[in-house]
Symmetry: C2
Subunit: 454 residues, 2 copies
């Protein structure tokens, strides 16, 4: 097992014995006084009586009764010493015990690491917000830390008033803050070719979700006086060496697109487009142009290299579909997932993420028998449009081999397809836009692996 | 001006001249081809014609028209070179241009920095999510980075089955993810005594907001078999050297309290209680016990030192009010705010935060004349219960001195009070629970300062 699963996301064995010495020892660290100690012993006796008739949850290795210990007054060192001081001019970091939870590059995916991907470790994350330090990266020519004082943003083309903005100009404008997912069009690409990548980090980790803040593009287009008769498309141009340029329809540009500087409360991170990027909710990540420096308004699609050669869908008839942009409804179980190990039977919380580029997630169903039976999961709130939705569902594992799946349904009624349903329409040569149901197999040993179930 | 305002939060002067050479030079960096260059020149002529009749927004220094330049094909270096590679086993950090945006300790506030405060830089933040690296700190005996493999959590007292949980035990349980603010009861304390601290970071920065993930305390209490007849309160005990202990009513404990390990997608940060803290939505931060190791169920309040000596409200009659816990409805404008400078007249987006410990924010009004007239601000979605709400409102500054205020109203109908209304009831000797309307004065010079308006 690679070391990227040695983290909170890994499900470790609960203590074997109901009352074991190591736990009894831990009791000694709880620092109870002598009066409480007597009470605890009574409590322990009561606990013993209750065990035989405990609920399913109680039987599910979810806590352990304890016995007294002569060292019960002993406290752990951190409860008796002066800890570290508050931060002074330092930016806070995760615990030293969480250093395995990192973005990781997929070795050999590209020839140059500056034109590569680092994946978000979904198997170790909770809720819907992706910590900015773990936001996935996909660069075409590397990333830059651009001085915001020198950065300029221009609007030109079919507009009455072409303009150039400084960052300070932009940040005085009416702003909005909205939570949205961003998913690379190539996320889950390897699955088209039956390549079972080892973890959900590599299968689905070109997916992140943040709260973005910026000025609506509609405000800028209105102010520039875009040509309401002839404007049909915009071109967004990034400031990187790849000359990244993407066409977006004027309807979408006027809808919910944001020229954003804020991400999860602070300025964008350099590798996510600092100081300015386009946020195009529901649309594949390549259109969220980073280091944004120009919007041109035009009357036809621009068919740039990144929309004529790359990010096109190979169809069964040998033709390629261009301008697929919306990320269709999709979901994935993040725990338990491939690379993790269930080390005993009993109760587990199955959890995962669902999303749709067309609006809100309406429902997520979970199967623990490879798609024969489905139960509806609990959705955590808020459930927002074009945003990740976290789902949870109870499960008691009986120790037999099972296949776990999740299936999302969005507010349009669209149902996440099986991989074979997708292949029937799209063939097998695609790279992009795979939103099929993901299957994780739990072996009798508890090991979870990536499998395809048809 | 202290260097903590030299950041995005500071409002810098927009370029003086509508067409200036420095901007024209920047146009040269946009890398347009010769065909487009001719078009741009035409666009520039059109822009010139439109300027005289521009909208209020257009007149508000929100962008600058441009002229052509012989170097128009010249690109900035970062657009012609290979950038940096994707992250490989590194945790992402903010831009080097954002290094002034940090938590800061208030010098001299306490004798020992391990028992002190570091404040969140609200003046430079966007939206509602506080980046975990900037989450405020308030420690009573310093912070610790506790090994989660050795951490234990116990439930005892009036329960049938006292239990000890490992982190792995807890993380298998049904979990919820919810966004909530946390505010120290002592936030805005200095304002009781008319001390006008220099920035919103120090006046309101013991306030943060995150998405928390964990197991509902109600699940644990039910499973432990709490005594439904006699249980009236719980005691939460932290693992730090201060022996932090807080009483919470059983009704609240069974309502929305979470035993949490996740914060903004990842594990709690060490200075915020890693690996386990209590989340007590709507209640002052001291009750969100960090490094949580024990919950005891009892039949009366515990009156521990942290609720008998500290965190009590001095009343006008010389008595102290105990067990004030709910953080009442409050708001503050974060930009423009004290320490920032408006360097020209014109359009600004006034933005700030509102919150209520009793539920959702219903409305936020903003005054630019010291409370005589109010306009209703736009609330960003989602508006969640016991969570920060971001508000925005348009404003054109005419260059005269003004006083900016915000006033929040929550879903119970409660209206955020003026400081004098609060003093009429609570006197002037309080430290805790000041939720009064905050006033920022903008001088003719554009400098913003902290003032009290009665």
């Amino acid at each position: 097992m690679s070391n990227d699963t040695k983290t909170r996301g890994r499900i470790l064995r609960a203590p074997e014995n109901f009352v074991d010495r190591s736990l009894a020892h831990d009791i000694t660290t709880l620092g109870l006084n002598e009066e409480r100690r007597g009470f605890l012993r009574k409590g322990f006796l009561a606990a013993g009586a209750a065990l035989a008739s405990g609920s399913a949850l109680a039987q599910a290795a979810k806590g352990t009764a304890f016995e007294g210990d002569p060292n019960i007054l002993k406290l752990p060192e951190h409860a008796t010493t002066l800890g570290k001081p508050v931060a002074t001019n330092a930016y806070g970091m995760p615990s030293k015990f969480e250093t395995n939870l990192l973005r990781r590059e997929s070795p050999g995916l590209t020839r140059v690491s500056a034109a590569s991907v680092s994946f978000t470790p979904l198997q170790g994350l909770f809720g819907i917000i992706t910590p900015s330090g773990l936001h996935f990266e996909r660069h075409h020519q590397g990333w830059y830390d651009i001085d915001p004082a020198t950065h300029r943003f221009m609007i030109n083309g079919l507009v009455k008033n072409p303009k150039v903005y400084t960052m300070d100009d932009l940040m005085r404008l009416p702003s909005v803050s909205r939570m949205h997912f961003i998913e690379c069009g190539a996320n889950t690409a390897m699955e088209w070719g039956n390549v079972a990548v080892p973890t959900v980090q590599y299968s689905h980790g070109m997916l992140s979700c943040s709260e973005f803040t910026g000025v609506p593009l509609s405000v800028l287009l209105e102010d520039a006086g875009y040509d309401k008769k002839n404007a049909k498309f915009i071109l967004a141009e990034g400031g990187d060496g790849s000359g990244m340029t993407r066409t977006i329809s004027i309807e979408r540009a006027l809808d919910d697109v944001i020229v954003a500087w804020g991400m999860n409360g602070e300025m964008l991170r350099p590798e996510n487009g600092y100081p300015l990027r386009l946020v195009v909710p529901g649309v594949q990540g390549v259109s969220w142009v980073k280091w944004l420096r120009r919007i041109e308004v035009g009357d036809k699609p621009y068919a740039t290299k990144d929309e004529a050669i790359h990010y096109i869908d190979a169809m069964p008839d040998g033709m390629y579909r261009q301008y697929t942009s919306i990320q269709e409804c999709k979901s994935v179980i993040t725990t338990p997932s491939s690379g993790q190990t269930l080390l005993d039977k009993g109760f587990y919380n199955i959890t995962g993420l669902a999303w749709s580029g067309r609006g809100k997630v309406k429902r997520v169903d979970v199967s623990v028998d490879g798609g024969r039976n489905w139960r509806t999961a609990r959705l955590e709130t808020p459930v927002l449009s074009k945003c990740l939705t976290r789902f949870n569902i109870d499960w008691v594992w009986d120790g037999s081999p099972v296949v776990l799946q999740s299936r999302a349904i969005d507010e349009t009624g669209y149902v996440q397809p099986k991989i074979n349903e997708l292949r029937a329409v799209r063939g097998t040569k695609s790279i992009y836009h795979n939103n099929a149901i993901q299957s994780w197999k739990v072996a009798e040993s508890g090991e979870v692996s990536n499998v395809q179930v048809y």
